[in-house]
Symmetry: C2
Subunit: 130 residues, 2 copies
DNA sequence: ACTTGACCTTCCAGCGACTGGAAGCCCTAT
DNA sequence: ATAGGGCTTCCAGTCGCTGGAAGGTCAAGT
């Protein structure tokens, strides 16, 4: 398979796949013409990476997850710990965004949104008080 | 005021304040020795920026918000539209993170987390199926 | 045989919003 | 005179790509 096929099948841009090779996540073979030649195992890894990235794992997490995946002597606890740590980070991020949303939502609702200059949003930003 | 004082009072790192000058958000004066000299109005702007950034507005949004703040002929609708658009982005982001969280949470709970290698988290990443 | 166009290659730069660090000047206190 | 702290500029790095330039390769059509 060439990079275009793999990109299609893995659902990742070709640029991303080249980047993943650059940083050592995959090591496809090369044809005589210099084109990358991907094995099924490469495609499999890329799909794995795509799903892990879609769950928000960092590239370094993905590297670790791939290593664990390929290590038949792994302890599932190691995977779980990694995932749990990531889950906690996501939950923190959600809480932070929800706090922003609550404040913003309040401000937006309190603003008339007309032609006049008076604006509680700007007042709040200016003074930190409502 | 020197940069250290302003950093303390605005609750922003000195580095960030220099960066804000670089990109033209503020233009403090200079003393003969080359040190930045901040007026009250600079401090006020920095506090404004700090609050806007804390609500997740981008730097370019902040630039626009500052301009609106200083324009006494603004229409509050312009501010509201900007804030509403930002609010929508935050809500999208929250939804995306919640989706990740739900999937991850399920996976984490289904993993024994012991010494054995069997791991539903890795199985899911490998196959995309549960 | 030649050309077109799609595909592939590498390399370099840029995104956003800082952050760290190096090298060096300035000011105050001892 | 020296030590320290604060200030300056400039450059590089963060994260995970993404865009674009310049050029090689291949298969199909004329």
């Amino acid at each position: 398979m060439n990079i275009g096929d793999v990109a299609q099948r893995a659902g990742l841009p070709a640029k991303t796949i080249r980047y993943y090779e650059d940083i050592g996540l995959i090591t496809p073979l090369r044809d005589d013409n210099g084109y990358r030649r991907f094995r099924e195992s490469d495609l499999h890894k890329l799909a794995f990476l795509g799903r892990a990235r879609a769950l928000g794992f960092t590239i370094e997490d993905c590297r670790t997850l791939l290593a664990l995946y390929e290590d038949n002597t792994r302890a599932s606890a190691d995977v779980k710990d990694l995932a749990q740590a990531h889950l906690t980070k996501i939950e923190d991020k959600i809480a932070q965004l929800q706090s922003m949303r609550d404040t913003l939502s309040e401000l937006v609702h309190s603003c008339a949104g007309d032609n006049r200059p008076d604006c509680p949003i700007l007042s709040d930003l200016a003074t930190g008080e409502h």
